[in-house]
């Protein structure tokens, strides 16, 4: 069979790209909503910021597992 195009490299990079889509959108939503709430109620900034970082931490874990998985499953 004749090859028309060839790609070389590590499939882990593609995997990480896929793994970053969901958490990217998720972190965007978390931060966007938190900023919206802060704009509505500036006096609640402290508690909102804390909870925003918590939400980011939980969402971001998925992307980071995607990064690590590229190294583990080679």
């Amino acid at each position: 069979m004749e090859l028309f195009a060839e790609v070389t490299g590590n499939l882990g990079a593609v995997g990480y790209g896929l793994a970053a889509i969901g958490p990217g959108i998720g972190v965007g939503i978390v931060v966007g909503k938190a900023l919206e709430s802060i704009a509505r109620q500036p006096e609640a900034t402290g508690i909102l910021r804390t909870n925003m970082f918590l939400g980011i931490a939980f969402t971001e874990a998925l992307a980071l597992i995607g990064l690590v998985a590229g190294f583990i499953f080679t």
Partner: protein, 231 residues
């Protein structure tokens, strides 16, 4: 001893010296380095411990403070000259930290409620229809007792590893494009790569603080979930 061990020893000594200098002769009106020390300690106590744990805060402030400053000191070595690698980018170091968090929140919960009630609280949350426990209990067991320390560890190590590799990529790229490449067309790209590397060095400082904050915050949240009365 590996390079990571040396870095860990140096940073631990630096932390000890910093706090010794700050609180060697504490004065009512703080001056100089005591100001810095007080702001740093207040940040953990007020922003993390008291905000999350409420009236339980006092018992756990020592643990959370130690954790925050150790994580921060081990993170910041990623951008310090001559060290250039975060001690936390070797998985053993965050593993120990995550394991201490694991012991801390389980100990706090068992001491507060007793082993039976603590397990019951975590594995059989009230208000769920009886057949659903088939589904809920395994999920809760895995997410509480396995994934919590694992995600704490992986979050820290992956952030530090990614930051290290990003800096290597940009500075290595700058070096190659500016000096090793034959084509002069590559020089502007090399300059861009160097500037981007500098920008990401600044970004790494932010990440070092943020990850220390998040690690401590999550430990506090786990402890708070373990000692709270009912969910």
């Amino acid at each position: 001893m590996t390079r990571i061990n040396v870095i860990m020893l140096i940073m631990t000594a630096a932390l000890l010296i910093f706090f010794f200098m700050a609180f060697r002769r504490p004065q009512v009106v703080p001056r100089g380095i005591q100001n810095v020390g007080e702001v740093a300690l207040d940040f953990v106590r007020v922003q993390i411990a008291e905000e999350i744990l409420g009236h339980h805060a006092k018992r756990f402030t020592v643990l959370l403070t130690t954790m925050f400053f150790i994580v921060l000191a081990f993170n910041i070595t990623g951008i310090l000259p001559l060290m250039h690698i975060a001690a936390n980018s070797l998985i053993a170091v965050p593993l120990i930290l995550g394991f201490s968090a694991y012991i801390a929140f389980n100990y706090a919960g068992i001491k507060q409620h007793g082993l039976k009630h603590y397990l019951q609280m975590n594995l059989f949350p009230p208000g769920v229809p009886l057949p659903l426990y088939l589904l809920v209990t395994p999920i809760e067991a895995v997410s509480t007792f396995i994934f919590r320390p694992v995600t704490l560890t992986i979050r820290l190590v992956a952030n530090m590893l990614a930051g290290h590799m990003l800096l290597v990529l940009f500075y290595g790229g700058a070096n190659y494009l500016l000096f090793a490449s034959d084509s002069w067309l590559m020089k502007p790209l090399g300059v861009f790569s160097f500037v981007a590397g500098f920008a990401f060095t600044l970004f790494e400082i932010l990440v070092a603080f943020l990850q220390a904050y998040i690690f401590t915050l999550l430990t506090a949240v786990y402890i708070s979930g373990a000692v709270s009365e009912e969910h």
